[in-house]
Symmetry: none
Subunit: 245 residues, 2 copies
């Protein structure tokens, strides 16, 4: 499903100077599952440096479409998002990229979308910006807002991917956490072992168990981890018995 | 306020091959308001190519700290987040970067934090990863997961910035977490105590220590908790000595 959606999204680079940035942008979009690059009047393309920096995304460069105008590049798109630095005075209200991609995802469910980036020194011209129906910016430090072109493309593609997948991709934890009753047996064992070792907190042993519960509670224990702990405690208990006898 | 927070966050690059990537990483972090770069055994640094790609972030390179080991680079940090590709088989559960930075922001309200990246070809070694108490990944396309190093740094720094600005005054964690070097001493003690108790996992004692590191890493240990554990281990050690005699 998301690959269908991604196939309706093109990344447009307008008047790029350095072929290395075109290659890096190709790599950036491919890592996020996008594949369509459209180049408006690139200064040098195709170029060896672009291929070198594309790494395993040379196919993206080979399939890139070269146009002579932004209008040509945007043909057929229902939504065009122009990326500009935040400070620019514009008639369009500019949205942070995380908000802007929400619309991109919903439109791309059925229609074509373009993410549009200007060149390395001046970005997009006002002429270009007004040909797009949305403006977005990438939040940066106020005193150092100069993102590399491919870095900006990387962040936009990343945000788009996360919005398309619907969530930050929460990975299920590797293993099953131990159920409550197993944890209680573990804590009882731990307490017994601590007494057997003659280790007592000077002030208050009960408070120490509370602290240990809280500490294990922060992470939880997986079933296998409980088994490891029970095994270690039993080994210590055995030594304590001998030591006390 | 957030600049104080950012000043407690270091970006650690381990064994980077290409100086250009160091320069691009410097530029990437500066755009997001970070400034501290720590380099573990860089192959070529300082280098003209690093400076060229740093653009207006040459100050970040000039202030970069070069170390000869990861432990040195992590000294004083309470939270270390290792970035790895998602697919790696690891004992640590890996969090998507957007979730991982939430903790980074809350810990950095009062303590030092490290974001740790491996080199361009193999990433971080397992040895390196287990010295960190969190593992994070950047969601990518399954078939094209090879992010450029500086692109990965860019996304992590961006997510960190958004989490820091979005969090209403970054909540402080209840108590102070133990710094890296104290945790390493604790793990060394734990391992020794386990051997002394004659408890060995049937299959692989090294793997067991990795599991224990991972389990403690999930929650972190507060300074006082480390003291409790060291005290308990010493009591068990005493019994083990008597039990063995």
């Amino acid at each position: 499903m998301s690959s269908d959606l991604f196939s309706r999204i093109r990344v447009v680079l307008s008047c790029t100077f350095h072929p290395g940035n075109i290659g890096s942008a190709a790599r950036a979009i491919k890592t996020m599952g996008l594949s369509r690059l459209v180049l408006v009047s690139p200064v040098r393309f195709p170029d060896r440096e672009a291929n070198a920096l594309a790494s395993n995304a040379v196919d993206v460069l080979e399939n890139a479409v070269v146009c002579s105008s932004l209008d040509e590049a945007l043909a057929g798109t229902a939504l065009q998002i122009a990326f500009t630095a935040r400070s620019r005075a514009l008639s369009h209200a500019s949205l942070p990229v995380r908000e802007a991609v929400v619309d991109a995802v919903s439109v791309a469910a059925s229609q074509e979308v373009a993410l549009v980036f200007g060149n390395e020194t001046v970005g997009l011209s006002n002429e270009d910006v007004i040909r797009c129906n949305r403006v977005a910016f990438i939040p940066t430090d106020a005193e150092s807002s100069s993102l590399n072109l491919a870095a900006a493309v990387q962040i936009a593609a990343y945000e788009l991917r996360l919005a398309a997948l619907g969530s930050p991709g929460a990975q299920e934890s590797a293993s099953e956490l131990a159920p409550h009753e197993e944890m209680e047996r573990f804590f009882a064992h731990l307490e017994k072992s601590i007494y057997a070792s003659s280790f007592l907190q000077p002030d208050n042993p009960r408070r120490m168990m509370e602290r240990l519960r809280r500490q294990f509670g922060r992470s939880g224990l997986e079933k296998e981890e409980v088994n490891i702990w029970r095994g270690m405690l039993s080994a210590w208990d055995e030594k304590s018995k001998k030591g006390n006898s």
